[in-house]
Protein backbone atom coordinates (compact mmCIF):
# COMPACT_ATOMS: atom_id res chain seq x y z
CA UNK A 1 0.00 0.00 0.00
CA UNK A 2 2.69 2.41 1.02
CA UNK A 3 4.76 1.47 -2.03
CA UNK A 4 1.99 2.32 -4.48
CA UNK A 5 1.50 5.68 -2.86
CA UNK A 6 5.06 6.50 -3.64
CA UNK A 7 5.29 4.84 -7.03
CA UNK A 8 2.89 7.23 -8.72
CA UNK A 9 4.99 10.38 -8.77
CA UNK A 10 7.92 8.37 -10.07
CA UNK A 11 6.16 7.67 -13.36
CA UNK A 12 5.80 11.35 -14.12
CA UNK A 13 9.30 12.43 -13.32
CA UNK A 14 10.25 13.17 -16.96
CA UNK A 15 7.96 16.19 -16.86
CA UNK A 16 10.05 17.65 -14.04
CA UNK A 17 13.49 17.45 -15.57
CA UNK A 18 13.72 21.18 -16.20
CA UNK A 19 14.53 23.55 -13.34
CA UNK A 20 16.36 23.07 -10.08
CA UNK A 21 15.43 19.70 -8.65
CA UNK A 22 14.93 20.92 -5.09
CA UNK A 23 11.95 23.03 -6.12
CA UNK A 24 10.03 20.24 -7.78
CA UNK A 25 8.29 17.11 -6.62
CA UNK A 26 10.63 14.71 -4.91
CA UNK A 27 9.09 11.30 -5.51
CA UNK A 28 12.31 9.56 -6.38
CA UNK A 29 14.60 11.00 -3.72
CA UNK A 30 11.79 10.70 -1.15
CA UNK A 31 11.73 6.98 -1.80
CA UNK A 32 15.46 6.80 -1.02
CA UNK A 33 14.95 8.64 2.26
CA UNK A 34 11.90 6.61 3.18
CA UNK A 35 12.94 3.14 2.05
CA UNK A 36 14.36 1.76 5.35
CA UNK A 37 11.57 3.23 7.47
CA UNK A 38 8.95 1.97 5.02
CA UNK A 39 10.36 -1.54 5.15
CA UNK A 40 10.32 -1.45 8.95
CA UNK A 41 6.87 0.05 9.03
CA UNK A 42 5.40 -2.48 6.62
CA UNK A 43 7.08 -5.54 8.14
CA UNK A 44 6.78 -4.75 11.86
CA UNK A 45 3.74 -2.46 12.11
CA UNK A 46 1.35 -2.62 9.17
CA UNK A 47 1.44 -6.29 8.23
CA UNK A 48 1.44 -7.50 11.88
CA UNK A 49 -1.59 -5.33 12.61
CA UNK A 50 -3.51 -6.93 9.77
CA UNK A 51 -2.14 -10.34 10.62
CA UNK A 52 -3.04 -9.97 14.29
CA UNK A 53 -6.59 -9.13 13.29
CA UNK A 54 -6.65 -12.22 11.08
CA UNK A 55 -5.31 -14.40 13.94
CA UNK A 56 -8.24 -13.27 16.07
CA UNK A 57 -10.63 -15.07 13.69
CA UNK A 58 -8.63 -18.29 13.77
CA UNK A 59 -7.60 -21.14 15.99
CA UNK A 60 -3.81 -20.99 15.95
CA UNK A 61 -1.25 -22.72 18.17
CA UNK A 62 1.97 -21.99 16.21
CA UNK A 63 2.40 -25.67 15.29
CA UNK A 64 -0.27 -26.09 12.64
CA UNK A 65 -1.65 -23.50 10.24
CA UNK A 66 -4.33 -21.14 11.53
CA UNK A 67 -7.84 -22.60 11.14
CA UNK A 68 -10.59 -20.06 10.58
CA UNK A 69 -13.23 -20.16 13.33
CA UNK A 70 -15.08 -16.93 12.60
CA UNK A 71 -16.16 -15.04 15.70
CA UNK A 72 -15.72 -17.99 18.08
CA UNK A 73 -12.74 -16.42 19.88
CA UNK A 74 -14.67 -13.22 20.52
CA UNK A 75 -17.63 -15.17 21.88
CA UNK A 76 -15.35 -17.14 24.19
CA UNK A 77 -13.60 -14.00 25.40
CA UNK A 78 -16.93 -12.44 26.34
CA UNK A 79 -17.89 -15.45 28.44
CA UNK A 80 -14.44 -15.86 29.98
CA UNK A 81 -14.63 -15.01 33.69
CA UNK A 82 -10.85 -14.64 33.90
CA UNK A 83 -10.95 -12.04 31.11
CA UNK A 84 -13.57 -9.97 32.92
CA UNK A 85 -11.66 -10.35 36.15
CA UNK A 86 -8.48 -9.26 34.39
CA UNK A 87 -10.27 -6.15 33.13
CA UNK A 88 -11.49 -5.43 36.65
CA UNK A 89 -8.03 -5.92 38.15
CA UNK A 90 -6.53 -3.72 35.43
CA UNK A 91 -9.18 -1.10 36.13
CA UNK A 92 -8.36 -1.05 39.85
CA UNK A 93 -4.68 -0.81 38.99
CA UNK A 94 -5.18 2.04 36.52
CA UNK A 95 -7.44 4.12 38.75
CA UNK A 96 -5.23 3.73 41.83
CA UNK A 97 -1.99 4.23 39.92
CA UNK A 98 -3.06 7.24 37.87
CA UNK A 99 -4.84 8.96 40.79
CA UNK A 100 -1.97 8.67 43.29
CA UNK A 101 0.67 9.38 40.69
CA UNK A 102 -1.00 12.53 39.41
CA UNK A 103 -1.80 14.00 42.83
CA UNK A 104 1.69 13.32 44.20
CA UNK A 105 3.33 14.58 41.01
CA UNK A 106 1.29 17.78 41.16
CA UNK A 107 2.49 18.35 44.72
CA UNK A 108 6.09 17.65 43.79
CA UNK A 109 5.91 19.90 40.73
CA UNK A 110 4.57 22.81 42.80
CA UNK A 111 7.33 22.32 45.39
CA UNK A 112 10.01 22.31 42.68
CA UNK A 113 8.47 25.30 40.93
CA UNK A 114 8.40 27.30 44.15
CA UNK A 115 11.75 26.29 45.61
CA UNK A 116 14.41 25.45 43.09
CA UNK A 117 15.67 25.38 39.52
CA UNK A 118 18.28 22.76 40.35
CA UNK A 119 18.91 20.31 37.53
CA UNK A 120 20.46 17.97 40.10
CA UNK A 121 17.19 17.67 41.99
CA UNK A 122 15.23 17.10 38.77
CA UNK A 123 17.69 14.44 37.68
CA UNK A 124 17.36 12.65 41.03
CA UNK A 125 13.59 12.79 40.82
CA UNK A 126 13.74 11.27 37.35
CA UNK A 127 16.02 8.37 38.27
CA UNK A 128 13.36 5.68 39.00
CA UNK A 129 11.73 6.29 35.63
CA UNK A 130 15.00 5.66 33.81
CA UNK A 131 15.71 2.36 35.54
CA UNK A 132 14.35 -0.87 34.01
CA UNK A 133 10.92 -1.97 35.27
CA UNK A 134 12.42 -5.35 36.06
CA UNK A 135 15.03 -3.80 38.36
CA UNK A 136 12.40 -1.68 40.11
CA UNK A 137 10.15 -4.71 40.55
CA UNK A 138 12.94 -6.79 42.10
CA UNK A 139 14.07 -3.92 44.29
CA UNK A 140 10.60 -3.46 45.76
CA UNK A 141 10.05 -7.18 46.05
CA UNK A 142 13.10 -7.19 48.31
CA UNK A 143 12.07 -4.07 50.27
CA UNK A 144 8.56 -5.51 50.78
CA UNK A 145 9.65 -9.06 51.58
CA UNK A 146 7.35 -10.52 54.23
CA UNK A 147 10.06 -11.83 56.54
CA UNK A 148 13.18 -9.76 56.08
CA UNK A 149 12.06 -6.79 53.99
CA UNK A 150 12.98 -3.29 55.14
CA UNK A 151 9.41 -1.97 55.00
CA UNK A 152 8.02 -4.71 57.23
CA UNK A 153 10.93 -4.11 59.60
CA UNK A 154 9.93 -0.45 59.86
CA UNK A 155 6.27 -1.40 60.36
CA UNK A 156 7.29 -3.69 63.23
CA UNK A 157 9.48 -1.00 64.78
CA UNK A 158 6.56 1.39 64.98
CA UNK A 159 4.33 -1.32 66.40
CA UNK A 160 2.33 -2.32 63.34
CA UNK A 161 1.73 -5.82 62.00
CA UNK A 162 3.78 -7.19 59.10
CA UNK A 163 1.99 -7.08 55.77
CA UNK A 164 1.93 -9.57 52.91
CA UNK A 165 1.99 -6.80 50.27
CA UNK A 166 2.62 -8.49 46.88
CA UNK A 167 1.53 -11.88 48.15
CA UNK A 168 -1.62 -10.84 49.94
CA UNK A 169 -4.79 -11.26 47.84
CA UNK A 170 -6.14 -7.92 49.06
CA UNK A 171 -2.96 -5.91 48.66
CA UNK A 172 -1.30 -7.47 45.65
CA UNK A 173 -2.59 -5.23 42.84
CA UNK A 174 -2.52 -2.07 44.95
CA UNK A 175 1.09 -2.82 45.89
CA UNK A 176 2.03 -3.18 42.23
CA UNK A 177 0.19 0.06 41.49
CA UNK A 178 2.07 1.82 44.29
CA UNK A 179 5.42 0.57 43.03
CA UNK A 180 4.71 2.06 39.63
CA UNK A 181 3.40 5.24 41.19
CA UNK A 182 6.76 5.54 42.93
CA UNK A 183 8.50 4.92 39.60
CA UNK A 184 6.49 7.51 37.65
CA UNK A 185 5.88 10.37 40.11
CA UNK A 186 9.13 12.16 39.28
CA UNK A 187 8.61 11.84 35.53
CA UNK A 188 5.02 13.06 35.75
CA UNK A 189 6.11 15.91 38.03
CA UNK A 190 8.63 17.07 35.42
CA UNK A 191 5.93 17.02 32.73
CA UNK A 192 3.66 19.14 34.94
CA UNK A 193 6.59 21.35 35.88
CA UNK A 194 7.21 22.04 32.18
CA UNK A 195 3.52 22.91 31.87
CA UNK A 196 3.78 25.35 34.79
CA UNK A 197 6.51 27.24 32.95
CA UNK A 198 3.87 28.24 30.40
CA UNK A 199 1.83 30.14 32.99
CA UNK A 200 2.61 33.87 32.73
CA UNK A 201 4.71 35.09 35.68
CA UNK A 202 2.78 38.34 36.04
CA UNK A 203 -0.33 36.47 37.15
CA UNK A 204 1.55 35.19 40.20
CA UNK A 205 2.89 38.65 40.93
CA UNK A 206 -0.60 40.12 40.67
CA UNK A 207 -1.88 37.45 43.06
CA UNK A 208 0.88 38.24 45.53
CA UNK A 209 0.11 41.94 45.40
CA UNK A 210 -3.54 41.10 46.06
CA UNK A 211 -2.36 39.22 49.13
CA UNK A 212 -3.39 35.76 47.96
CA UNK A 213 -1.77 32.89 49.91
CA UNK A 214 -0.02 29.89 48.39
CA UNK A 215 -3.07 27.63 48.52
CA UNK A 216 -5.34 30.24 46.99
CA UNK A 217 -2.81 30.97 44.24
CA UNK A 218 -2.58 27.27 43.49
CA UNK A 219 -6.36 26.90 43.41
CA UNK A 220 -7.11 30.01 41.39
CA UNK A 221 -4.14 30.31 39.07
CA UNK A 222 -1.93 27.25 38.82
CA UNK A 223 -4.59 24.56 38.63
CA UNK A 224 -6.98 26.20 36.12
CA UNK A 225 -4.18 27.32 33.81
CA UNK A 226 -2.46 23.96 34.04
CA UNK A 227 -5.62 22.17 32.94
CA UNK A 228 -4.62 21.52 29.30
CA UNK A 229 -1.29 20.02 30.32
CA UNK A 230 -2.90 18.15 33.17
CA UNK A 231 -5.51 16.66 30.82
CA UNK A 232 -2.80 15.51 28.42
CA UNK A 233 -0.66 14.06 31.20
CA UNK A 234 -3.67 12.28 32.70
CA UNK A 235 -4.69 10.53 29.53
CA UNK A 236 -1.14 9.64 28.54
CA UNK A 237 -0.68 8.13 32.01
CA UNK A 238 -4.00 6.33 31.66
CA UNK A 239 -3.04 4.68 28.37
CA UNK A 240 0.42 3.76 29.62
CA UNK A 241 -1.01 2.44 32.84
CA UNK A 242 -3.34 0.05 31.00
CA UNK A 243 -0.30 -1.69 29.57
CA UNK A 244 1.09 -2.82 32.92
CA UNK A 245 3.04 -6.03 32.34
CA UNK A 246 6.69 -6.10 33.45
CA UNK A 247 6.09 -5.62 37.18
CA UNK A 248 3.44 -8.33 37.27
CA UNK A 249 5.55 -10.74 35.21
CA UNK A 250 8.51 -10.33 37.57
CA UNK A 251 6.78 -10.26 40.95
CA UNK A 252 3.47 -12.11 41.23
CA UNK A 253 2.81 -13.66 37.79
CA UNK A 254 -0.86 -12.91 38.35
CA UNK A 255 -1.12 -14.54 41.78
CA UNK A 256 -2.50 -14.93 44.42
CA UNK A 257 -5.14 -16.79 42.36
CA UNK A 258 -6.15 -14.04 39.91
CA UNK A 259 -5.64 -11.08 42.23
CA UNK A 260 -2.99 -9.42 40.05
CA UNK A 261 -3.69 -11.06 36.69
CA UNK A 262 -3.93 -7.90 34.59
CA UNK A 263 -5.15 -7.95 30.99
CA UNK A 264 -1.72 -7.56 29.39
CA UNK A 265 -0.35 -10.45 31.44
CA UNK A 266 -3.37 -12.63 30.69
CA UNK A 267 -2.93 -12.06 26.94
CA UNK A 268 0.75 -12.93 27.27
CA UNK A 269 -0.04 -16.13 29.18
CA UNK A 270 -2.65 -17.24 26.65
CA UNK A 271 -0.27 -16.65 23.77
CA UNK A 272 3.06 -17.76 25.09
CA UNK A 273 2.39 -20.36 27.76
CA UNK A 274 -0.80 -21.90 26.37
CA UNK A 275 -0.11 -21.06 22.71
CA UNK A 276 -3.65 -19.91 22.00
CA UNK A 277 -2.64 -17.19 19.58
CA UNK A 278 -6.12 -16.73 18.13
CA UNK A 279 -7.69 -16.28 21.53
CA UNK A 280 -4.91 -13.94 22.70
CA UNK A 281 -5.32 -11.84 19.54
CA UNK A 282 -9.06 -11.52 20.09
CA UNK A 283 -8.41 -10.24 23.61
CA UNK A 284 -5.86 -7.76 22.22
CA UNK A 285 -8.53 -6.45 19.85
CA UNK A 286 -10.73 -5.68 22.85
CA UNK A 287 -7.78 -3.94 24.48
CA UNK A 288 -7.23 -1.85 21.34
CA UNK A 289 -10.90 -0.83 21.29
CA UNK A 290 -10.54 0.26 24.90
CA UNK A 291 -7.37 2.23 24.18
CA UNK A 292 -8.85 3.85 21.06
CA UNK A 293 -11.81 4.95 23.15
CA UNK A 294 -9.37 6.48 25.64
CA UNK A 295 -7.45 8.19 22.83
CA UNK A 296 -10.66 9.69 21.47
CA UNK A 297 -11.39 10.89 24.97
CA UNK A 298 -7.92 12.42 25.00
CA UNK A 299 -8.57 14.30 21.78
CA UNK A 300 -11.91 15.55 23.09
CA UNK A 301 -10.28 16.77 26.28
CA UNK A 302 -7.49 18.43 24.34
CA UNK A 303 -9.86 20.18 22.00
CA UNK A 304 -11.95 21.33 24.92
CA UNK A 305 -8.87 22.69 26.62
CA UNK A 306 -7.38 24.57 23.68
CA UNK A 307 -10.41 26.86 23.65
CA UNK A 308 -9.65 27.47 27.31
CA UNK A 309 -6.20 28.71 26.50
CA UNK A 310 -7.30 31.42 24.09
Amino acid sequence: MAATLLARPLGRRTARRAGPSWQRGHGRIALVFLAPALIGFAVFYLVPTVRGLWFSFTDYNLLSDPAVVGLDNYGEVLSDQVFWNALKVTGVYVVFNVATQTVLALGLAVLMERLTRSVMIKAMVLLPWLVPNVTIALLWMWLLDTNVGFVNHVLEQIGLAKQGFLFSPDQSILTIASINTWRHVGYTALLLFAGMQLIPRHLYEAARIDGAGEWRTFQRITLPLLRPVLALVLVVSLIGSFQIFDTVAVTTEGSPVNASRVIYYYIYEKAFTQFEFGYASAMSVFLILLLVALTLLQMRLLRASTSDLA
Binding site: L6, F33, L138, L139
Partner: protein
Protein backbone atom coordinates in the same frame (compact mmCIF):
# COMPACT_ATOMS: atom_id res chain seq x y z
CA UNK B 1 10.14 36.97 57.35
CA UNK B 2 6.75 35.44 58.10
CA UNK B 3 7.18 33.30 55.00
CA UNK B 4 10.15 31.46 56.39
CA UNK B 5 8.38 28.70 58.33
CA UNK B 6 6.24 27.87 55.28
CA UNK B 7 9.29 27.78 53.08
CA UNK B 8 11.08 25.56 55.54
CA UNK B 9 8.12 23.21 55.56
CA UNK B 10 8.10 23.12 51.76
CA UNK B 11 11.80 22.27 51.69
CA UNK B 12 11.16 19.53 54.22
CA UNK B 13 8.49 18.14 51.92
CA UNK B 14 10.77 18.22 48.89
CA UNK B 15 13.63 16.60 50.78
CA UNK B 16 11.28 13.91 52.06
CA UNK B 17 10.19 13.20 48.47
CA UNK B 18 13.84 12.96 47.43
CA UNK B 19 14.58 10.61 50.31
CA UNK B 20 11.68 8.33 49.36
CA UNK B 21 12.87 8.38 45.75
CA UNK B 22 16.48 7.62 46.51
CA UNK B 23 16.37 5.40 49.60
CA UNK B 24 15.41 2.20 47.71
CA UNK B 25 18.54 2.62 45.58
CA UNK B 26 20.64 3.07 48.71
CA UNK B 27 19.16 -0.12 50.13
CA UNK B 28 19.86 -1.89 46.86
CA UNK B 29 23.56 -0.99 46.99
CA UNK B 30 23.70 -1.72 50.72
CA UNK B 31 22.28 -5.21 50.09
CA UNK B 32 24.60 -5.82 47.14
CA UNK B 33 27.57 -5.09 49.40
CA UNK B 34 26.38 -7.41 52.16
CA UNK B 35 27.15 -11.12 52.26
CA UNK B 36 24.08 -13.36 52.25
CA UNK B 37 25.18 -14.66 55.66
CA UNK B 38 24.88 -11.19 57.17
CA UNK B 39 21.71 -10.37 55.30
CA UNK B 40 19.39 -12.27 57.60
CA UNK B 41 21.05 -11.56 60.94
CA UNK B 42 18.42 -9.05 61.94
CA UNK B 43 20.54 -6.00 61.27
CA UNK B 44 18.92 -3.17 59.36
CA UNK B 45 21.78 -0.73 59.67
CA UNK B 46 22.08 1.70 56.79
CA UNK B 47 25.63 0.62 56.07
CA UNK B 48 26.59 -2.96 55.22
CA UNK B 49 27.81 -4.85 58.30
CA UNK B 50 30.80 -6.42 56.70
CA UNK B 51 31.13 -4.91 53.20
CA UNK B 52 32.10 -7.39 50.52
CA UNK B 53 32.34 -7.53 46.74
CA UNK B 54 31.56 -11.26 46.70
CA UNK B 55 28.06 -10.75 45.26
CA UNK B 56 29.39 -8.84 42.28
CA UNK B 57 32.13 -11.42 41.81
CA UNK B 58 29.54 -14.21 41.91
CA UNK B 59 27.17 -12.80 39.33
CA UNK B 60 29.99 -11.71 37.05
CA UNK B 61 31.35 -15.25 37.08
CA UNK B 62 34.55 -14.20 38.85
CA UNK B 63 34.03 -16.40 41.90
CA UNK B 64 34.39 -20.18 41.84
CA UNK B 65 31.20 -22.27 42.27
CA UNK B 66 32.38 -23.24 45.78
CA UNK B 67 32.85 -19.62 46.78
CA UNK B 68 29.46 -18.78 45.30
CA UNK B 69 27.72 -21.53 47.24
CA UNK B 70 29.56 -20.52 50.41
CA UNK B 71 28.24 -16.99 49.92
CA UNK B 72 24.70 -18.32 49.83
CA UNK B 73 24.13 -18.19 46.10
CA UNK B 74 22.99 -20.84 43.69
CA UNK B 75 25.69 -22.91 42.06
CA UNK B 76 24.17 -22.10 38.68
CA UNK B 77 26.52 -19.76 36.90
CA UNK B 78 25.13 -16.32 36.24
CA UNK B 79 27.24 -14.60 33.69
CA UNK B 80 26.05 -11.03 34.15
CA UNK B 81 29.10 -9.71 32.36
CA UNK B 82 27.81 -11.29 29.18
CA UNK B 83 24.23 -10.07 29.72
CA UNK B 84 25.58 -6.60 30.30
CA UNK B 85 27.45 -6.77 27.00
CA UNK B 86 24.38 -8.15 25.23
CA UNK B 87 22.26 -5.30 26.57
CA UNK B 88 24.83 -2.78 25.33
CA UNK B 89 24.95 -4.39 21.87
CA UNK B 90 21.14 -4.50 21.73
CA UNK B 91 20.77 -0.84 22.74
CA UNK B 92 23.60 0.37 20.48
CA UNK B 93 22.28 -1.43 17.40
CA UNK B 94 18.74 -0.17 17.96
CA UNK B 95 19.88 3.43 18.53
CA UNK B 96 22.11 3.42 15.43
CA UNK B 97 19.45 2.02 13.11
CA UNK B 98 16.38 3.67 14.53
CA UNK B 99 17.77 7.20 14.82
CA UNK B 100 19.38 7.14 11.35
CA UNK B 101 16.42 5.71 9.46
CA UNK B 102 13.81 7.64 11.42
CA UNK B 103 15.73 10.85 10.73
CA UNK B 104 15.78 10.12 7.00
CA UNK B 105 12.05 9.40 6.99
CA UNK B 106 11.31 12.44 9.16
CA UNK B 107 13.19 14.62 6.68
CA UNK B 108 11.16 13.25 3.78
CA UNK B 109 7.93 13.95 5.65
CA UNK B 110 9.05 17.42 6.72
CA UNK B 111 10.71 18.73 3.57
CA UNK B 112 10.06 16.67 0.46
CA UNK B 113 6.94 16.82 -1.68
CA UNK B 114 5.57 13.59 -3.01
CA UNK B 115 2.16 12.16 -3.59
CA UNK B 116 0.54 10.43 -0.65
CA UNK B 117 2.89 12.04 1.86
CA UNK B 118 0.25 13.14 4.32
CA UNK B 119 -1.75 9.92 4.06
CA UNK B 120 1.41 7.94 4.72
CA UNK B 121 2.36 10.15 7.65
CA UNK B 122 -1.04 9.75 9.28
CA UNK B 123 -0.78 6.00 8.74
CA UNK B 124 2.54 6.09 10.62
CA UNK B 125 0.96 8.12 13.40
CA UNK B 126 -2.12 5.95 13.73
CA UNK B 127 -0.03 2.89 14.59
CA UNK B 128 1.15 4.71 17.71
CA UNK B 129 -2.27 3.89 19.15
CA UNK B 130 -1.87 0.13 18.76
CA UNK B 131 -0.58 -1.46 21.98
CA UNK B 132 2.67 -3.39 21.49
CA UNK B 133 1.15 -6.64 22.77
CA UNK B 134 -1.03 -6.79 19.64
CA UNK B 135 1.84 -6.64 17.15
CA UNK B 136 4.17 -8.67 19.38
CA UNK B 137 2.22 -11.87 18.60
CA UNK B 138 2.52 -11.70 14.77
CA UNK B 139 6.05 -10.30 15.03
CA UNK B 140 7.07 -13.29 17.10
CA UNK B 141 5.52 -15.65 14.55
CA UNK B 142 7.41 -13.85 11.79
CA UNK B 143 10.80 -13.83 13.53
CA UNK B 144 10.35 -17.47 14.51
CA UNK B 145 9.54 -18.53 10.95
CA UNK B 146 12.61 -16.65 9.69
CA UNK B 147 14.82 -18.43 12.22
CA UNK B 148 15.50 -15.26 14.21
CA UNK B 149 14.78 -16.63 17.68
CA UNK B 150 17.90 -16.47 19.88
CA UNK B 151 19.78 -14.31 17.40
CA UNK B 152 20.80 -10.68 17.72
CA UNK B 153 19.18 -9.73 14.45
CA UNK B 154 15.87 -11.21 15.58
CA UNK B 155 16.11 -9.25 18.82
CA UNK B 156 16.98 -5.97 17.12
CA UNK B 157 14.90 -6.15 13.90
CA UNK B 158 11.52 -4.77 15.05
CA UNK B 159 13.17 -1.65 16.54
CA UNK B 160 15.86 -1.18 13.91
CA UNK B 161 14.13 0.63 11.06
CA UNK B 162 11.86 3.13 12.75
CA UNK B 163 9.30 3.79 15.41
CA UNK B 164 6.37 6.05 14.64
CA UNK B 165 7.32 8.12 17.69
CA UNK B 166 10.90 8.70 16.50
CA UNK B 167 9.71 9.86 13.06
CA UNK B 168 7.07 12.11 14.58
CA UNK B 169 9.52 13.54 17.12
CA UNK B 170 12.22 14.44 14.57
CA UNK B 171 9.78 15.73 11.95
CA UNK B 172 8.72 18.46 14.40
CA UNK B 173 12.30 19.73 14.61
CA UNK B 174 13.03 19.43 10.89
CA UNK B 175 9.91 21.47 10.14
CA UNK B 176 11.31 24.34 12.17
CA UNK B 177 14.59 24.53 10.23
CA UNK B 178 14.32 27.65 8.02
CA UNK B 179 13.78 26.55 4.42
CA UNK B 180 16.08 29.31 3.10
CA UNK B 181 19.20 27.55 4.36
CA UNK B 182 18.36 24.45 2.37
CA UNK B 183 17.39 26.52 -0.65
CA UNK B 184 20.76 28.26 -0.61
CA UNK B 185 22.50 24.90 -0.48
CA UNK B 186 20.20 23.67 -3.24
CA UNK B 187 21.08 26.60 -5.50
CA UNK B 188 24.73 25.82 -4.92
CA UNK B 189 24.04 22.50 -6.55
CA UNK B 190 24.01 20.30 -3.46
CA UNK B 191 21.77 17.27 -3.78
CA UNK B 192 19.00 16.56 -1.29
CA UNK B 193 21.11 13.74 0.07
CA UNK B 194 24.05 16.05 0.77
CA UNK B 195 21.80 18.79 2.13
CA UNK B 196 20.37 16.30 4.59
CA UNK B 197 23.69 14.98 5.87
CA UNK B 198 25.69 18.19 5.74
CA UNK B 199 23.12 20.82 6.68
CA UNK B 200 20.03 19.33 8.32
CA UNK B 201 21.69 16.70 10.51
CA UNK B 202 24.38 19.01 11.98
CA UNK B 203 21.78 21.72 12.60
CA UNK B 204 19.59 19.29 14.54
CA UNK B 205 22.32 17.65 16.59
CA UNK B 206 20.45 18.45 19.82
CA UNK B 207 17.15 16.69 19.05
CA UNK B 208 19.02 13.77 17.46
CA UNK B 209 21.11 13.25 20.61
CA UNK B 210 17.98 13.57 22.74
CA UNK B 211 16.21 10.93 20.68
CA UNK B 212 19.27 8.68 20.86
CA UNK B 213 19.28 8.92 24.66
CA UNK B 214 15.54 8.26 24.98
CA UNK B 215 15.84 5.29 22.60
CA UNK B 216 18.87 3.91 24.45
CA UNK B 217 17.08 4.04 27.81
CA UNK B 218 13.94 2.43 26.39
CA UNK B 219 15.89 -0.36 24.73
CA UNK B 220 17.93 -0.92 27.88
CA UNK B 221 14.65 -1.35 29.79
CA UNK B 222 12.91 -3.56 27.20
CA UNK B 223 11.57 -6.75 28.72
CA UNK B 224 8.74 -8.52 26.85
CA UNK B 225 10.37 -8.83 23.44
CA UNK B 226 13.75 -10.11 24.77
CA UNK B 227 11.78 -12.48 27.00
CA UNK B 228 10.23 -14.01 23.88
CA UNK B 229 13.06 -14.05 21.35
CA UNK B 230 16.30 -13.94 23.38
CA UNK B 231 16.01 -16.92 25.68
CA UNK B 232 19.46 -18.41 25.28
CA UNK B 233 22.59 -17.28 27.09
CA UNK B 234 24.31 -15.97 23.95
CA UNK B 235 21.71 -13.23 23.40
CA UNK B 236 20.13 -12.92 26.86
CA UNK B 237 19.94 -9.31 28.08
CA UNK B 238 20.16 -7.89 31.59
CA UNK B 239 16.44 -7.45 32.26
CA UNK B 240 15.42 -10.98 31.35
CA UNK B 241 18.52 -12.39 33.05
CA UNK B 242 17.44 -10.80 36.33
CA UNK B 243 13.91 -12.13 36.03
CA UNK B 244 15.28 -15.63 35.33
CA UNK B 245 17.76 -15.32 38.21
CA UNK B 246 14.90 -14.51 40.55
CA UNK B 247 12.74 -17.38 39.33
CA UNK B 248 15.51 -19.94 39.74
CA UNK B 249 14.73 -20.15 43.44
CA UNK B 250 10.95 -20.44 43.37
CA UNK B 251 10.37 -21.96 46.81
CA UNK B 252 13.45 -21.11 48.78
CA UNK B 253 14.40 -17.58 49.73
CA UNK B 254 15.68 -15.75 46.65
CA UNK B 255 19.36 -14.87 46.50
CA UNK B 256 18.66 -11.24 47.39
CA UNK B 257 22.27 -10.15 47.72
CA UNK B 258 23.07 -11.50 44.27
CA UNK B 259 19.89 -10.02 42.79
CA UNK B 260 20.63 -6.59 44.21
CA UNK B 261 24.17 -6.78 42.83
CA UNK B 262 22.62 -7.47 39.42
CA UNK B 263 20.14 -4.62 39.92
CA UNK B 264 23.03 -2.28 40.77
CA UNK B 265 24.72 -3.24 37.50
CA UNK B 266 21.52 -2.39 35.61
CA UNK B 267 21.26 1.01 37.32
CA UNK B 268 24.89 2.08 36.84
CA UNK B 269 24.72 2.84 33.08
CA UNK B 270 21.52 4.81 33.64
CA UNK B 271 23.24 6.78 36.40
CA UNK B 272 26.17 7.43 34.07
CA UNK B 273 23.79 8.72 31.38
CA UNK B 274 22.10 10.93 33.95
CA UNK B 275 25.43 12.40 35.06
CA UNK B 276 26.62 12.97 31.49
CA UNK B 277 23.36 14.20 29.98
CA UNK B 278 21.37 15.27 33.05
CA UNK B 279 20.23 18.62 31.73
CA UNK B 280 19.39 17.30 28.27
CA UNK B 281 17.43 14.38 29.70
CA UNK B 282 15.49 16.60 32.09
CA UNK B 283 14.73 19.08 29.31
CA UNK B 284 13.69 16.38 26.86
CA UNK B 285 11.12 14.86 29.18
CA UNK B 286 8.32 17.11 28.03
CA UNK B 287 8.66 15.75 24.49
CA UNK B 288 8.06 12.20 25.60
CA UNK B 289 4.61 13.09 26.87
CA UNK B 290 3.20 12.88 23.37
CA UNK B 291 4.24 9.27 23.15
Amino acid sequence: MRKNPARLLAWAGLLAALAITLFPFWWMVRTALTGNAHLFNGSYSLLPDDPTMINFERILGLASPEEARAAGGTSASMDFWRYLQNSVVFAAAVVAGQVTFSAMAAYAFARLRFRGRDVLFYLFLSTMMIPPIFTVLPNFVLIKSLGGVNTFWGLVAPYFFMTPFAVFFLRQFFLSVPGEIEEAAGLDGASRWRIFWQVVVPMNRGPLVTLAIITAVQTWNEFLWPLLVAKQENVRVLTTAMAIFQQQTPNATPDWAGLMAGATLAVLPVLLLLILFGRRLVDSIRFTGIK
